[in-house]
């Protein structure tokens, strides 16, 4: 196996191990960890067996195989960023509703205080 394949494959495995360590140390939520471990394992597989891209490219009619990797990588990144924006939108919405709820509860407390005082 070529040295470069060993290096890239080992890098993929190292990233997979890093993800597990991050989950263990509560730095990364488990659900996100699944996707990242899968990504790391794909890197490892392609690193140890780069011929897979050549095979895929020939079947898809792509003349220059690395372009397929680049296109797939960019597409996945764009999708990931879009999903992050969707997630952030929902988080922002939930936060706003919580702020509103707090305000309503404060108003209730004030009304109770006035009732007690009167």
């Amino acid at each position: 196996m070529a040295t470069i394949s060993l290096v890239t494959g080992s890098l993929g495995l190292a990233i997979a191990v890093l993800i597990i360590v991050l989950i263990r140390r509560d730095k990364l939520y488990v659900n996100h960890g699944f996707a990242w471990i899968f990504t790391a394992l794909v890197f490892a597989l392609l690193g140890f067996a780069p011929g897979i891209f050549d095979w895929l490219a020939s079947h898809l009619g792509v003349a220059y195989p690395p372009v397929l990797g680049l296109a797939a990588g960019i597409g996945i990144l764009v999708l990931k960023v879009l999903l992050m924006d969707i997630d952030r939108s929902h988080t922002s919405m939930k936060q706003e509703r919580l702020i509103q709820k707090m305000g309503m509860l404060e108003a209730d407390i004030q009304a109770l205080k006035e009732k007690i005082d009167s």
């Binding site: 305000g103 004030q110 009304a111």
Partner: protein, 248 residues
């Protein structure tokens, strides 16, 4: 007993009415604005203090309003939604939203409520097209043509909502909105609710200018945001609201 509670307890109005008023740093005018509204019979005022840094909340309480304080500024629509949610919690089935800057005249509240009482509309918008600058009129034309919502005064915050509208506007979908105009109206239409507009008079703001049109950058952001939202929420067929005349 607060002034609000005493008025809600009265029996001569068939349905008690909440006035929801979002406010941010309106200490200069809030007392006079509230005194005009509190003079109306059977009104419960809910003022949503959008994290003001002045005495707005304290002055509003002193005037007899129920104050719902936001711990962090969430904007005029977020504050309005908080007020509508709170009004629902208190059991109100009708709500009128008014600005805290003195533009909206209390004597038109009954004009806004009347179409709801008659069952011809779920939401009534108080329209004052003559108040618009040329810039605002261009904005209205663009918003109407992209969204298909044919309400004359799209940006008026002087509105009456019935219980169905209040339920829709209390939902999480409405929390996604940043402004109360096209997005809110499109959401109501998507739930097959009826809109109407009534001609009202409005005064110029007692202090300061528009917060939305405060700078060209703010205008550009608002227009891009609103036009994209209106286009994406556009109904397949155009909606034209029935035009009703003011009763006062």
């Amino acid at each position: 007993m607060t002034a609000n509670a005493a008025k809600v307890g009265s029996t001569s109005r068939s349905v008690p009415l909440a006035v929801v008023m979002p406010a941010y740093n309106e200490a200069e005018v809030i007392a006079s604005v509230l005194s005009g509204i509190m003079a109306l019979p059977h009104i419960h005022v809910i003022l949503i203090d959008d994290a003001s840094t002045d005495e707005t909340a304290a002055l509003a309480r002193r005037a007899g309003a129920t104050v719902v304080p936001m711990s962090v500024q969430i904007g005029a629509w977020g504050a309005t939604q908080a007020g509508i949610r709170y009004a629902l919690r208190l059991g109100f089935t009708r709500v009128v939203t008014m600005d805290a800057d003195g533009q909206h005249l209390p004597q038109y509240v009954s004009s806004l409520i009347e179409p709801i009482e008659r069952g011809v509309a779920n939401t009534v918008i108080g329209a004052c097209p003559s108040r618009g600058s040329w810039l605002r009129r261009i904005a209205w034309v663009l918003m109407r043509s992209t969204s298909g919502v044919r309400i004359e005064d799209l940006t008026s915050g002087f509105r009456a909502y019935d219980a169905k509208s209040m339920e829709v506007l209390s939902s999480w979908r409405a929390t996604f909105l940043d402004y109360q105009d096209v997005g809110v109206l499109s959401l109501l239409l998507s739930q097959n609710l009826e809109l109407a507009d009534v001609e009202v008079a409005m005064l110029p703001r007692e202090n300061g200018g528009s917060r939305i049109f405060r700078s060209w950058k703010a205008v550009a952001y608002y227009m891009c945001h609103t036009l994209l939202l209106g286009f994406s929420k556009r109904r397949i067929r155009r909606y034209r609201a029935p035009r009703l005349r003011s009763v006062s």
